[in-house]
Structures are given as structure tokens and as C-alpha cells.
């Protein structure tokens, strides 16, 4: 993998200018996302952005720094702190033929617009036959000491709505390609950017503005033969590190990065299980009713005769994300936890 972990900028209000790849030409996850937005805004006039502080301020995480100068305030629209209205406006705009990309300062705040997302946005096409090409995007996930108002993994809530495609990329190239696909897709999408990854991971990212990553396809990030780790988001990176440590002990872990969590790429998941016969489902949202629960059920139901061990989930408990660093570390699955879970599976 041509990725590196880089020094983290301060959470939230960092100072890295937009548009600058590193001297090696690599882009961080955050830059790759910014590039996707920029390229799609240039490609299609109907695409516009709205959100809190995205215009003049350049975005809480500086994703949209410089955008308003290039695209103007009508296409890079600062909104009040009113998430429900942001979603409602996006719905209305999409009905009128525009392609809105709404930024949420933290994915946690999307739930202020929960009803608009789940009752209106996700069902509108079913009710009225009118497609709504809306993208809701924002930083999700924890591990950055931002506590329970700024660390949520909300994908299960919105996956339940049923009408929204949900993406949680782990790598810069995937992020760029998937966001572009989401913007071009006529269905509503939720694009969750894991904030822990923003400035920590960088890699070679294509400059081809037409290079897309298909929605609904998972990717094997590391081939292995003994255990499959099915995961997404920041956990992919932890899993990769754990896999290195495991390899030293002679356990070969395969890592499947879901990339899109709804709809699931069952085929890739099942193919991996057929190969290894053991499944560890690793996810950062709460264990109960998380995405991993669905993955585990699919594996148990459709790959039963390929299993040499029970399907095991590893995920945080259903408690508010702690603020205290040692508590947050205890809350999240760590590399040692992943190794231990794989050890047990391999020795079952």
C-alpha cells in the first residue's frame, strides 16, 4: 500500500491550505476529498455546496478553503446552524434539478435533521418518482478525543432509512473516487469522512477527473488465507497494523475494506470467507445493530458451510464516546484487541 501515516493536524481547525499535495505528489484523505469536490463543481454547474462555515471560513476542517473565490457564494453557500433546514433546502434544490452537496460540520449534527433525512430524503423517490441527487457529507468517527458530540459513527441510523447510499472510505483514492460517484449518482448519498483519517493517511491519488470508484463495491486491502477481517473506516488502518503483527506469528489475515456500507458488497465478503473460513467483523460504530451486525448475519446465512469457526464481531460497546483519553482508548477496538480476536479465531 502506498500510504503513509502523517502528522495529524489539530482536530477541527487546522491550518493546512487546500489544494496542496505533498512534495511527493501524494494527497491526504482530506485533500483528496477536496479535489473531488472541486473537480465535480467544475464539471457540472448544477453541483453546488451548502453548509455551516464552508464559504468565507473555508470549512471547519478547511476542506473547502478557496472554493468560494473560485465558485462564488451562490454555489458555496454559508448556512445558519440549522441542519434540518440544510437537508430540506437540499431536497428542494434537488427537486428543481440541482445537485446539492451539503456539508455537516460534524456528522453528529446530522441527527438534527433526522426526520428530513429519513422520512423525506430517503423516501421521496418512492413517493413522488422524482430522484433526489443529494450528497450529505461530513466528518464522522472518533479516536481524536472529541467526545460524544463529535465522534459519532451514524451510518447504522441512516442505513436503516433504506433509501440512502452510505459510503465510509478509508483511503484517499477511495474517498476521491467514491465522492465523485456519489455526486454523479441520482440517488441520495451519505458520504462519511472519518476525521481520524483526514490528515493522517496520504497516498498516491490519481489526477484523472474521470476516475471513479463504484458505489457498493468492497476492496480487499490485504490478501490473506487464515482469517478474514471485514471492516471499514479508520478500523481498516488498525486492522492493517494488526495484520502485520499477526503475520509475524504466522497468521495470515485478509482485510476486506467495505468502502460502501449500504448497500453491502456481499459477493466480495463471501468470496473472502470462502477462502479463509473464519470471519472477524470489525467496526467502529456501536456493536449493537451496527453495520457489522448485518455483515455477520449475511456471512452466517450465506457462507455457513464455509465456516470453520463462529463469526465474531469486534466493536465498541453501546455507551457515549468517552472524553477521557484512556477511556476512549478502552472504548475503541485497539490493535491489540484485533490481534487477540484473530488469535482466538485462528485457534478455535
Amino acid at each position: 500500500m502506498a500510504t503513509q501515516q502523517v502528522e495529524a493536524g489539530a482536530a477541527g481547525h487546522g491550518a493546512e491550505p487546500r489544494g496542496k499535495r505533498g512534495e511527493d505528489g501524494q494527497a491526504t484523505y482530506l485533500i483528496a476529498i477536496a479535489e473531488a469536490l472541486w473537480e465535480e463543481m467544475e464539471r457540472d454547474d448544477r453541483v453546488f455546496m451548502l453548509g455551516e462555515d464552508i464559504g468565507v471560513y473555508g470549512g471547519a476542517f478547511k476542506v473547502t478553503e478557496g472554493f468560494i473565490d473560485r465558485f462564488g457564494p451562490e454555489r458555496v453557500m454559508d448556512t445558519p446552524i440549522a441542519e434540518e433546514t440544510i437537508v430540506g433546502m437540499s431536497v428542494g434544490a434537488a427537486m428543481e434539478g440541482l445537485r446539492p452537496v451539503a456539508e455537516f460540520q460534524y456528522a453528529d449534527f446530522m441527527s438534527s435533521g433526522f426526520d428530513e433525512i429519513t422520512t423525506v430524503l430517503s423516501r421521496y423517490h418512492y413517493r413522488a418518482g422524482v430522484p433526489l441527487p443529494v450528497v450529505l457529507r461530513g466528518p464522522s468517527g472518533g479516536g481524536v478525543r472529541a467526545s460524544s458530540f463529535h465522534s459519532i459513527n451514524p451510518e447504522p441510523w441512516y442505513a436503516y432509512a433504506g433509501g440512502i447510499k452510505i459510503m465510509c472510505p478509508a483511503f484517499p483514492s477511495d474517498a476521491k473516487g467514491l465522492l465523485k460517484s456519489a455526486i454523479r449518482d441520482d440517488n441520495p448519498s451519505l458520504f462519511l469522512e472519518h476525521k481520524w483519517i483526514y490528515r493522517r493517511i496520504k497516498e498516491e491519488v490519481s489526477e484523472d477527473p474521470e476516475l471513479l470508484v463504484p458505489i457498493g463495491s468492497a476492496d480487499v486491502k490485504r490478501e490473506g488465507s487464515d482469517v478474514s477481517i471485514i471492516t471499514y473506516g479508520a478500523m481498516v488502518h488498525k486492522a492493517l497494523e494488526a495484520a502485520d503483527a499477526l503475520a509475524q506469528r504466522g497468521i495470515s489475515a485478509e482485510i476486506v475494506d467495505l468502502r460502501t456500507v449500504y448497500p453491502l458488497d456481499e459477493e466480495t465478503i463471501l468470496r473472502s470467507i470462502e477462502k479463509t473460513s473464519r470471519a472477524l467483523v470489525l467496526y467502529e460504530s456501536y456493536r449493537f445493530l451496527g453495520i457489522g451486525t448485518e455483515v455477520a448475519a449475511v456471512i452466517a446465512e450465506k457462507a455457513f458451510e464455509h465456516l470453520d469457526a463462529p463469526v465474531v464481531r469486534l466493536a465498541p460497546p453501546n455507551v457515549p464516546v468517552p472524553f477521557s483519553p484512556p477511556l476512549e482508548d478502552a472504548f475503541l477496538p485497539q490493535i491489540a484487541d484485533i490481534e487477540a480476536a484473530v488469535d482466538r479465531l485462528a485457534g478455535w
Binding site: 473460513s277 467483523v281 456493536r287 451486525t293 455477520a296 452466517a300 455457513f304 458451510e305 464455509h306 465456516l307 470453520d308 469457526a309 463462529p310 463469526v311 465474531v312 464481531r313 469486534l314 466493536a315 460497546p317 477496538p333 484487541d337 487477540a340 480476536a341 482466538r344 479465531l345 485457534g347 478455535w348
Partner: protein, 494 residues
Amino acid sequence: MTSIQMPQLGETIVEGTILKWLKREGDAVARDEPLFEISTDKVDTEVPSPVAGTVTKILVDEGATVPVGTALMEISEAGAAASGDAAASGDAAASGDAAASGDGATSSGDAAASGDAASSPASGAAPTTEPTPEPSGGAASSEGSSAAPPPAAVTPPAAPAVPAAPAAPVAPAAAASVPAAVATVPDRGPRSQILSPLVRRLAKEHDLDLAQIAGTGSGGRITKADVMAVISSGGQVAPATAGATAPVTAPAQPMPAPSAGIGEEIVPVSHIRRAIAEHMLASTQTSARAWTMVEVNVDHLVKLRERIKATFQERYGLKITYLPMVVRATVDALLEYPDVNARLDGDNIVRHRFVNMGIAVSYDAGLIVPVIKGADGMNTIGVARAIADLAARARSHQLRPDEVQGATFTITNPGPYGSVASVPIINQPNVGILSFDAIVKRPVVIDDAIAIRSMVNISMSWDHRVIDGEAATRFLARVKENLETWDFAEDLGV
């Protein structure tokens, strides 16, 4: 021996009526051949046999209506020397009388599992552990079996306990629902009868006999790797044998009894004696036996025992002896040195990831080695109970065939009879047998001064084909270290 029970043909069907026996006692029966006809309130059917063999017992009359699960008949499986209730092993070494396997050979657990072994894997881990007094090893005078057994609380073997709690149960339902598959997989370890869905499917697709595949997974489980190894090596391997040359059974014609000379008395060899003799001889002819000894300072254990023995007796209803502590210390060393907890199978060393501890017990008929299955999952109290129970039942001739098979290592304790060092014969197909001799107060040198301490010699006969002196010595050193440094008080709950 396979027990055939009244099947449950539907969830709400609670009983059935035997309409007609299709087989009589003594009849041979093939696998899937109908045994009897039953009628329930919803449906009638004939019930086929899950195994091939001979009908040894019919337990219920024609016309009787019995609840689901009632034992109806017993079948002794093909190849068995059907001798009363001591049904001997299945495919491999038919070691004659399974009740008498001494230091020589155990028929390596190749026997088909008995009906009760085909129960849930968790209970397979700890067969019976009602505590009763100690074995010959533990006390010079065998205590009367007076104590009423308190409930056995045995820890099952270390099942994987994922902290984030696994979504699926640990053990799949491999139990009596598939009587054919489970009944033919021998009880080689606490989890040897757990067959994962993948393993079952592969066995079916490639027409493999799972009974012939050694499980190298935790607790003896047959893993995907085990099955794949067989498949990629081109099919079923020859039956996993005991490694020992199978001792032959009695010669066809008895020798004429010699007449006693003057000053001589003729005592015909009992058939248990003969079996022991054959096993011992075969063992010495099989293993390249070497022997190592260490001296262990058990002063603190002697003091501990003095201090707690009354409380222990009161709390647990049995006498505490040193043997359970030695077993615990040895189990730890075995897990640390897996080549000692292994057997030689052709060109492969099969390491067990669990410990079935054979305990040599001396009784009226000679010598027998009951096995504590899953000893690696027990604490000292559990081991003490297991020993007490097995020894008592050994003496009253109540051990089941599966309880004298499957040892991965053996301990003998001649100490109570006074020996300070012994050279035991390896219990095939183990790699080693440990002897725990008498504890004796001796002068020893500590910090360049002479002190009196309780010392014991612990020695091991070991098979030089599999391990070398260094491994053997390190292993014993570890046992010694454990005995000398562990705080058994906590483990004994006193």
C-alpha cells in the same frame, strides 16, 4: 457402543410406539438399515441405524410407548470384540480388554465414541467428576469411598472468550442431531467431536471418514487445515494408529498348564495381566526410552497441606494430596513444551493443544490408567475431584471405555509405597510418563548451610525418537519451578 433412542420426528411429538423390531439381539446391521418401526401421533416410519455393527441389546418391548429420547437398543460397532459392556475400540488397535491398559498401551482413542460421548461438546470436556477419595497414588492406604460427592463444578476447557463477546455460540450443535457423523468421530479430546459446517461439508464432498482424521485444533477439534491436509495428500490416510504395535489378543489355543514343580506354585495369568504384559513389552520395543530426574523442594507444599487439609476436607469433601498439584504443574509445562504432549504418527509429531492426563492407578486386578480429559482447563480443585472420582471408579471396576483412552501424557505416583525414584514404562502413544515418588525429609544445602527440607524426586521416562535430553530436562525444570514457586493456596480456594 451406540445407543439408539426414540427419535424426535417433530417438535411437538413427545413419544412413540415401537410397532415392530426388525432386528433381534445378535443380528448384524448395516449402516442405514432399518432397525424397527415406530408410530407416533403424526407419522409412522422405520428408523435406520446410524452405524454398522451388531445389535447387542434390545431394551424395550414391541408395542411399548415410550418418551422421545428413551434408549431402545444398543449396537456394538463393526470390528469390535463385543465383550459384554467393555466394548473395545473400533477400527484400529483392538487391544483386547479395554479395561486393563496399564503403563503399556492405550488404544489411542481410536475407539468409536460411546453413546454418551455423543453429547454436547461442553460436557465432553469434563466427563464425570463426582469427587470420591484419592487414587493409589495419593495415599498409602486407599481410603474408603465414604464421602458423598458434592456437586462437581468442573471448568470446561478454555473455550475462546472474545471480550467483545462472540456473536455466535462457541460450540455448534454437532451433537446427537447428526448421530452418524458424531458417533463415528472418536472422543480424542474435549473438543474432538465439534465438527464445523465447513469440515462436515468437505468430508461429505470428498467422501472422507472423519474418524480417521486427527484433530490438531484446540481441544482436539478437527480443523479445516486437518481436512485439507488429507484432501491435498490425495485422500484418506491409513487409520491413525496408536503408534505402538498393536498387541495381539490371546493366542488361539491356550498352552497346556504346566505342572508345579517342588517349591513352585502355578498362578495362571489373568487376562488383565496378560494385557498389561503385552502393552509393557510393546512399549519398550516401540519407544527409544531415556530417563531424566530432578529433585524438587516441596517443603512449602507440605506445610501448606498441613495447614489446609482440614478446611479443604470440610469445604470440598475430599482429602487434598500432592498429586493434583503435581498434575497442575505438569499441565502448565506440557502446554509450554508441546513436543512432550504429543505422539509420533508415522513421520509426523502430532502435538495436542489440550492435555488429557492419564493417572496410573493400582487396583486389585493390576494397573489401569484412567484419563482426566481436558485437564488443561481445570484448576487444582477440579483436578483433585477428577482424580478422586476416577480412582474410586477404577477400583470398583466402573470406568467406561472412553475414560481409559486418549491420554496425551501420563503421571504415575508410586511414592506412597515408598520408592524414591522410579523408571516407569511409557504409556503408548505418549512421549513421556512422569513419576512422582516419595516425599522425604532430607538434608539439603541452602545458602551454603545445611537445612532439612521435604524433597521429592520427579522423573520422566521419555521417548528419544521425539524429543532430546535438552527438551526433557527443560520440561522437568519447568515442572520443578512450578511446584517450587506457585502459590497453590489460592488455587485451592483456602
